[in-house]
């Protein structure tokens, strides 16, 4: 399945030129871009692995694209996203976050229902990767 996290996942995958345009925008806003990757896109998996620190000093989108490509080379079968962090008071949070790499075969999510009293159900999601069937 195609997961739809990130700001632009309903559009066709961004080209490098389009990625660069978005990074340029973030830099113009004074935001710090960073690159993160994961093999588990569970919606509650907040902390993807950091590909280095946020690039606070970078002025040029080309440098960010260089890091994206290095990360893609190291982890071609992972999800990779670019975040842009805004340190302005009142935000101090991510302002833009979009995918720049997907694994060739994306995992899916199994919905696990645990029935409770009455008709109530507790729900949880489990990431199911390729060639993985029943729960461990």
């Amino acid at each position: 399945m195609r997961i739809t996290q990130g700001t632009f996942s309903f559009l066709p995958d961004l080209t490098d030129a389009q990625i660069r345009a978005q990074v340029d925008y973030a830099l113009r806003q004074g935001w710090a871009p960073s690159v993160e990757f994961t093999d588990d896109p569970h919606p509650r998996n907040t902390y993807w692995e950091m590909w280095g620190l946020p690039m606070f000093e970078v002025q040029d989108a080309a440098a960010v694209l260089y890091e994206i490509n290095a990360c893609r080379k190291a982890y071609p079968d992972r999800y990779i996203r670019v975040n842009a962090f805004d340190a302005t008071r009142g935000f101090e949070s991510v302002r833009l976050s979009f995918l720049v790499n997907r694994p060739p075969r994306e995992p899916r999510f199994e919905l696990i229902r645990t029935e409770g009293p009455g008709r109530s159900v507790r729900y949880s999601l489990r990431t199911v990767r390729e060639n993985e069937g029943a729960p461990e």
């Binding site: 399945m1 997961i3 739809t4 996290q5 700001t7 632009f8 996942s9 309903f10 559009l11 066709p12 389009q18 345009a21 978005q22 925008y25 896109p41 569970h42 919606p43 509650r44 907040t46 975040n83 842009a84 008071r89 009142g90 935000f91 101090e92 949070s93 991510v94 302002r95 833009l96 976050s97 979009f98 899916r108 999510f109 199994e110 919905l111 009455g118 008709r119 109530s120 159900v121 507790r122 729900y123 999601l125």
Partner: protein
């Protein structure tokens, strides 16, 4: 104080407190020299006095009736520090474009300052019981409207504020850089719980972030609240599994009593909902209670402004919505319906800009062109996410983002569910339109002018968007607004 002045003071006091009726302005409620203190609450009223009532007297009467006064002199005032407790009308200005030679009778803006100790900490009920408690029915005024308020930081700090706020809401939902997308389930009345959940599932799977109960969906014979909550949460979780995204549905917990509302909210929490909803008609105290509950339970709190147009829409009488927005930010809601500009409901662009700033900014400077009369410092209080809802569709996406920015929930009810290819296609059309316009804006495209081309381009590969644009392209609601600002920016000639 010299003996002579003390003597004069006593004599004046004797005259002032003789039994009988005095003009309000002679009772100390009109003080043109008064300079408001940083800790004063300030209210700005639009006053239409009865024939023969002087504007200063009308303003003083409003100050009096919204603070300590009664219609006659009372000696018991002298047991109190009454000079401090009296509200002070300190400025009266004629309203532009009213009075002789215009189509509107003469109105005045009256500035009134209130000492902070007149108000209980952290209580919208107490604040409003004073400011709007009695005075709106006062006979010497033909009409009265509360246009704006300055809440001093000292008072702001006694309120909790939004349970979650824009920043944390986005962090919890893991959604950044674009407006959130929602829709209200339609038809709003009559669906069974099972059918209702179908609409929710299709819309969320198609690309919306949120679906919403309407204001009058509570617990009716066709769908009791537990049925709705159970089927809806099945839909939400299925959609989350199908997309890998956090999804939500505003479960409306509005009910007859606080006990019922807490019971419904607890059930929503048990089922794993990220958000619950209340209606403005439950009242200020109930709203504050639910905001505290939401903060304690990691829940986003959505407020539907049901009923507000009964008192916010007419310009001469009532309360401006920007004031309601200030009260609701203090009271602690996370979402509030705040106008679309382009949709089917009342919304002048300048008025809406002032309201959105009030909800979202850490500090809003006075801006008469947006209806904001005072600097307002929110002192770190969290921000409320405005919700734009009512008669909007994908073809207006560039206008919506130009007017409203990206920290907003755009709700396309009919514009999702009425899509010719179904609900999922309607949701997809909206999400593609949204992302395409944000992408273009970030790339530096002038979306106000070139937005339609951006959408046409996306519609070439996205069939649902093409169908949406073809269906609704020409739908606009172009009527003159009732609630407009009184000041238009004019160019100052260079000297």
């Amino acid at each position: 104080m010299s003996t002579a002045t003390a003597e004069t003071g006593k004599r004046q006091a004797r005259g002032r407190y003789d039994a009988g009726v005095l003009k309000y302005r002679e009772m100390g409620y009109w003080q043109p020299d008064y300079v408001p203190r940083d800790t004063d609450v300030i209210a700005l009223f639009r006053i239409t006095p009865q024939e023969g009532v002087e504007p200063e007297e009308a303003a003083a009467a409003v100050a009096g009736e919204s603070s300590t006064a009664t219609w006659t002199v009372v000696w018991t005032d002298r047991l109190t520090a009454c000079d401090a407790y009296r509200a002070k009308a300190y400025r009266v200005d004629p309203v532009p474009n009213t009075g002789p030679g215009t189509r509107t009778e003469q109105q005045y803006f009256a500035y009134i300052a209130y000492e902070l100790d007149l108000f209980e900490e952290g209580s919208i009920a107490n604040l409003t019981a004073s400011i709007i408690g009695n005075v709106f029915g006062f006979k010497p005024l033909k009409a009265l409207r509360l246009e704006d308020m300055r809440i001093p930081v000292a008072y702001v700090k006694t309120f909790q504020g939004p349970a979650t706020g824009i920043v944390v809401e986005r962090e919890r939902l893991d959604k950044f850089g674009r407006p959130l997308l929602g829709a209200t389930t339609k038809p709003k009345l009559g669906l069974s719980g099972r059918n209702y959940g179908r609409v929710v599932y299709e819309a969320l799977k198609g690309g919306l972030d949120f679906v919403k109960d309407d204001e009058n969906i509570n617990s009716q014979p066709f769908m009791h609240w537990r049925d709705r909550f159970l089927f809806v949460m099945e839909a939400v979780n299925r959609a989350s599994a199908a997309t890998g995204e956090v999804k939500g549905h505003y479960l409306n917990v509005t009910a007859a009593t606080m006990e019922d509302m807490y019971e419904r909210a607890e059930f929503a929490k048990e089922l794993g909902s990220v958000i619950v909803m209340i209606d403005l008609v439950i009242g200020y105290t109930a709203i504050q209670s639910m905001a505290k509950w939401a903060r304690r339970n990691d829940m986003i709190l959505h407020l539907h402004r049901a009923g507000h147009s009964t008192y916010t829409r007419q310009k001469n009488h009532g309360i401006a919505f920007r004031v309601i927005s200030k009260w609701m930010r203090l009271a602690g809601v996370d979402h509030i319906h705040a106008g679309t500009v382009v949709g089917k409901l009342e919304g002048d662009p300048a008025v809406i800009a002032g309201i959105y700033d009030t909800l979202r900014e850490p500090f809003t400077p006075a801006n008469l062109g947006h209806g904001l009369f005072f600097d307002q410092d929110w002192a770190g209080m969290r921000k409320v996410m405005p919700v734009a809802s009512g008669g909007i569709h994908a073809g207006q996406m560039h206008q919506l983002i130009s007017y409203l920015g990206e920290d907003v929930v755009l709700q396309f009810g009919g514009g999702t569910i009425g899509h010719p290819h179904g609900i999922e296609a309607g949701a997809q059309a909206n999400r593609v339109a949204l992302e395409a316009i944000i992408q273009a804006r970030n790339e530096g495209v002038d979306i106000w002018n070139e937005g339609p081309e951006v959408l046409e381009k996306a519609a070439r590969w996205c069939t649902p968007l093409r169908a949406a644009l073809e269906t609704w392209r020409d739908v606009t609601f172009d009527y003159t607004s009732t609630d407009t600002v009184d000041f238009v920016p004019t160019a100052t000639p260079a000297s």
